[in-house]
Amino acid sequence: MNNQFSRRDFLKVTGGAVMITAGASVLPRFLRKNLMPEEVVQAAVNYPAPDLFFAGTDGWFWLPPIPEIPPYHPDPYGADYTPAGVDPFTTYIFGFRNVTGLTDAQRQNQRNKTQHNSPFFWTDQYDDVINPKELRVQLTNLGLALRPDLTDAHTIHWHGFRNVIPFYDGEPHGSISVPVGQIFTYVYRPRDPGTYMYHCHVEDVEHVTMGMTSLVFVHPLQNGDTSFYPSGKYAYNDGDGSTGYDRENALFLSEIWAEGHWNDAHIQESDWSLFKADFSLLNGRVHPYTLLPNSPIDLAASTNCLTVQFDGNGNLATNPGYEHLQYNPHSSLITCNAGERVLLRLANLGFREAAMTLAGIKMRVVGRDASPMKGRDGTNTSYVTNTLLIGAGESYDAIFEAPAYEGPGPYDTYILYNRRYTQESNLSPGGSGGQRTEVRVYPAGTLGPQLYLNQHPDDLVS
């Protein structure tokens, strides 16, 4: 590095002071709080505690540093934010962290420690009579540690939520968004099962491509009824077991334009019309890292969200030897026993259409955009395919039945990959480096029942 005192260094030194003392110009809404008489809008009510608490902030994560994309990848600033002895982080990101259960101090520590992709969460279908249980997701905004000049608000936009009111939609111009230091609770009554996405909708081109994105899904009311399918787990309220499954895997597609990320880290404007994806990610990683385990899972805390264990500071726990994957904690490996049905929940918040191909096993498309494959007169419109074309912002629910185990290895391997080969390859060493993972089929009875979403056989679980 050179010895110039850069704009970034200046911000690092003065940023905290700017946040506090210059609030009048930088954060006028903090001041307004003091200037404006509060309007009494509601009587005090004891609302239920939030089911989930998310925090929007920035951070760094790791992608294969080779091939280089000078000067954008790997971003040399990443080394400043990487623990000693760990392969340096390469890429500046924004994202959400699950801070449910953290103390206030632990939560504040998570500024500059976000993850990619953001946490997966889910809930059960709401019904006024059978299941009048709302999902309450609290959001706070920890600010951007590297860019205190960017006082952007954040929101959670549940992409695809039907009949939303603007208050809960997270689209900032139609209602409100959450400035730095504030908290808002989104209350959802999800009446339609299926696979959705969520993302921040503030400056959405930037905040989405910077990583404030993930997948969310809704289990149907029919779940628990074993009369249609022995597991009692279904993608939809099918009434006949046609969407029953034994295991479910979320596969979330996103993209990294190295220059756009570098620009945000280096206080440059991006011309988003020049967007070009350099990395195509599956659950926040590229192949072969997609096959590695999840970060250590907190099973008890994973009732609504795939929750990674945290340390005393509230930071994400890591697997020994994979510390560089601390901030892309999600595995994409799919494992099952022969004869089992596996539900794949696929969603794409990249900007390009993907062609996800499962070679050697047919998939039945049972849902698209959180809608069962049914015409208005009930006609079954599901279909069988090996390749799913998934547009930007689209979701699919596909079920495959694991074929018989052939051997001789411990499992048979089938490849699930993006047939748009330019999105499956980043020319990284040791693998194809893009949206590719494996389906591993074990002999019947080998694997126990799936305990949580995207369970990997080598996960550390507590």
Binding site: N163, I165, P166, G174, P179, E206
Partner: protein, 435 residues
Amino acid sequence: MQPSKFKWVWLASVLVLVSLAASSLAPAQSAKAAGPTTGIVCTEGPSFNLTAQSGYIQMSDMNTVYMWSYGSGTTSGNFQYPGPVLCVNEGDTVEITLKNELPYSLPTSLIFPSQENVMADGVLAQPDLANDSLTNSVANGGSITYSFVASRPGTFIYESGTDTKTQVTMGLAGALIVRPSMGANFVYNRASDQFTPEEEFMAFLSEVDPYQHAAWEKSVGKGKNYNLNNYHAYYWLLNGRGFPDTMADNNASWMPNQPYGALARIHPFNDDPGAGQAYHPNPAVERFINVGTEEYPFHPHGQNGQVIGRDGYPLEGPGGQDMAYENFLVNIGPGQTWDVLFAWHDAEAYDSTTNPVNVTVPDLANMTVGMFYSGSPYLGVQKTMPPGVSTLNQCGEYYIISHNHALFQLDAFGQTLAGPITYLRIDPPLPNNCP
């Protein structure tokens, strides 16, 4: 990143003008025919005169871009982009006389990709390869008449058939709507495809590479030398406009060549006459049309549309089975048209006194407040904004965004929050106090 102050001033001024136009002041109309402020503006047939010509349109970043397109009439001077929306009835014999007033003595033609048995000056239309044309072309200054029987209802494209990679990307395209024999408030001849006539909208998607357009503006030589391998759009458009102009009324006076707005203004759906809310039993329809070269993954927030037809064919099985499907992402490809019924239900019927939202409504002074927000979670309720915050909200109506989800397309040559974005405006149930 915070948008520049300049952009917000511009946006606010546009929207103030919108609300003025919607108020009691007489809407400032261009020379074009007056019509509804939102929704599809039809040019009625079945006989039409179109003149291919050059003109200019305004982009969200205040650039002005040279285009080719069509105007109604037999002479140039009525340039508009996109071309006029041609509306006919099923069974009509449609006659379109094309006058060629393009620059540089270029030939041109019209194709109707989803129509059969198209005639050109009375004989079956055939390719004219000598003029790089998919159909009979017309020399500069001349006229040609195409005709066909509108044999089935739906949404269709008309566009240039000559040097298509140049002429269509330069803007020579428009929409054709064929209304079914069941009635103008149906999309296809199925009872299930009925819609509310005041809630018929169009999403006409296209993009512009300003370098290509500038090359043709300078000279025929530069235009012909433009290398389409370098084609890269920097503007993406909805009904020929970029956001926030997409929100402005049809025939907004400050965009004389871009007459079509894209705001979808509806009322809450309610098909139960006994329910407390106003009876509003039919959905709205959005006719999606992609005349660009890219996919447009269009995402309306807050509702799953019902895709009932594509390319002018209802989605049905050989035995008439309903093959319509729901989606929240209309992933429309180049040259496709999709017909999508949609509605917004007041599913939770939140009410400030009888059924409040189950959360503490935050003090607006502590939040970042959007420019369309009423200040209240409740439909039809407006609250006072904190000091320093203004809103364009008129009567407590809801604004729910619709936009392309290939988000790099929400851009105008580096200016963000532009391109194919519009809003679904949901007015409180009638009677209401909305202007």
